[in-house]
């Protein structure tokens, strides 16, 4: 659903493309770094997600290169994709603040 919360792999892929265009392998490495090594996307999952994100208009091909005889295609975040990521960031921030507020109200030592 376009307006619902993003799944974690989608969020991480959009985040990886937020600052600059990247090729497939670059996205895989960046997602691992952004998630602190917790999420390791594989090629099949990545390209299934890119297929969907391209269809939704959130991601577009930026340029193509041939490096060492192999095709390297760079993807970038579209304005629509950036707006969607921004919305998700705001949603997560609001939830995080709510969680922080409630944790501060928690009695020291936990509940009886």
């Amino acid at each position: 659903m376009k307006d619902g919360p993003l799944r974690e792999p989608t969020f991480l892929i959009l985040t990886a493309l937020a600052a600059r265009a990247q090729h497939g392998y670059g996205i895989l490495l960046d997602v691992e770094e952004i998630s602190g090594g917790r999420v390791k996307l594989r090629a099949g999952t990545l390209y299934t997600a890119l297929d969907r994100l391209s269809a939704d208009g959130w991601v577009a091909v930026d340029r193509e290169q041939v490096v060492d005889g192999r095709l390297r295609r760079y993807y970038r975040l579209t304005d629509e994709g950036a707006a969607r990521l921004e919305t998700e960031v705001r949603r997560l921030r609001a939830q995080t603040r709510a969680a922080e507020r409630r944790l501060r109200l928690r009695p020291a030592g936990g509940t009886a």
């Binding site: 659903m1 376009k2 307006d3 619902g4 919360p5 090729h23 497939g24 392998y25 895989l28 594989r42 090629a43 099949g44 999952t45 990545l46 390209y47 299934t48 890119l50 297929d51 969907r52 269809a55 939704d56 490096v67 192999r70 095709l71 390297r72 295609r73």
Partner: protein, 307 residues
């Protein structure tokens, strides 16, 4: 070509042709870059590549637009399905009301007048469990409810409705049980449609049941029920989103099969049981798949002229 590349190419050959032509070489480059000095793909790589290929094929068959995640559709069904199903008890409740009004409730022959009562009772329990956030327990209770539906429709067909009316409820019951058991569940469904959706659908079901009990077989009331159930379900599921519309289509299957049944009665068409089953169970499923296969509407970009 190395042995590793040959393995990868064999796995990529399983992908849909258009995807292979567009991304095949690119994916191969990514796979080779991440392979290090391995001579063969790892088991997890194989599983990931094959599962991705299956998803892309399915996307082209059941959701060619590529934007509808079937798991999200089922998540909404797992949340709203148990509530929507309660509207199916209308006919039985009408019978019950008649016997209550006549002061003859103790004499009511349940096995003929309300044979599916246990199923609706179980769906009521499922709905409460879903609302309480007990989705595992709800899934466990949902399957006996489906089984009861099937038993009544199979072994008591003459004491029950005709196939057209049974089929929709059985299909929605089955899909709801599947959704509760294998989808991301009601919690995800609530994220997608919001808490208000349950209230909207519960109100819709309440109004539908009340109209059905009080105005049984009155043409205007039956038409009103139809409007309420279609409108309420569409609003509850989120008619502005494609995932929501897909979920609404599933929840409205009983309306579709009942309409088919009425059409059959109108033209007095007699069909052998096997054909009836094929029509009332097969057609709605095919229609769902076909609607899923419609390509998404292409939005013209303002910077591109219409050609």
């Amino acid at each position: 070509m190395s042995e590793l590349e040959r393995h990868y190419r064999r796995l990529l050959a399983r992908y849909p042709r258009d995807h292979r032509e567009r991304h095949g070489e690119e994916m191969l480059a990514v796979l080779m870059a991440g392979a290090g000095d391995r001579a063969r793909p790892t088991r997890r790589e194989r599983v990931d590549l094959l599962w991705a290929a299956v998803r892309l094929h399915l996307r082209r068959v059941v959701a060619a637009d590529g934007g509808v995640d079937a798991r999200d559709v089922l998540a909404i069904v797992s949340l709203l399905g148990p509530v929507a199903l309660l509207a199916g008890a209308t006919t039985g409740l009408h019978e019950l009301a008649w016997f209550v009004k006549a002061g003859a409730l103790v004499d009511m022959p349940w096995s003929t007048q309300f044979p599916d009562a246990p199923a609706w009772l179980l769906w009521g329990v499922v709905a409460v469990l879903v609302l309480l956030g007990r989705s595992r327990a709800a899934a466990v209770v949902a399957w006996p409810a489906v089984a009861w539906f099937v038993l009544v429709a199979t072994f008591l067909p003459h004491q029950h409705w005709w196939t057209g009316m049974d089929a929709g409820w059985i299909l929605v019951g089955l899909l709801t049980a599947v959704a509760l058991t294998w989808s991301p569940g009601p919690a995800r469904g609530r994220e997608l449609v919001g808490r208000r959706a349950v209230l909207v659908l519960a109100a819709t079901v309440g109004v539908t049941v009340a109209l059905g009990v009080l105005g049984h077989r009155v043409a205007v009331v039956e038409f009103l029920r139809l409007v309420v159930v279609i409108g309420g379900t569409a609003v509850a599921c989120g008619h502005r989103s494609r995932v929501g519309r897909r979920a609404a289509l599933i929840l409205l299957l009983p309306t579709v099969t009942t309409a088919l049944g009425f059409a059959q009665l109108l033209i007095s068409l007699r069909m052998p049981t096997s054909l009836e089953v094929a029509v009332f169970y097969g057609l709605p499923v095919l229609a769902l798949l076909a609607l899923g296969g419609l390509p998404r509407r292409v939005r013209r970009r303002p910077d591109r002229p219409v050609t």
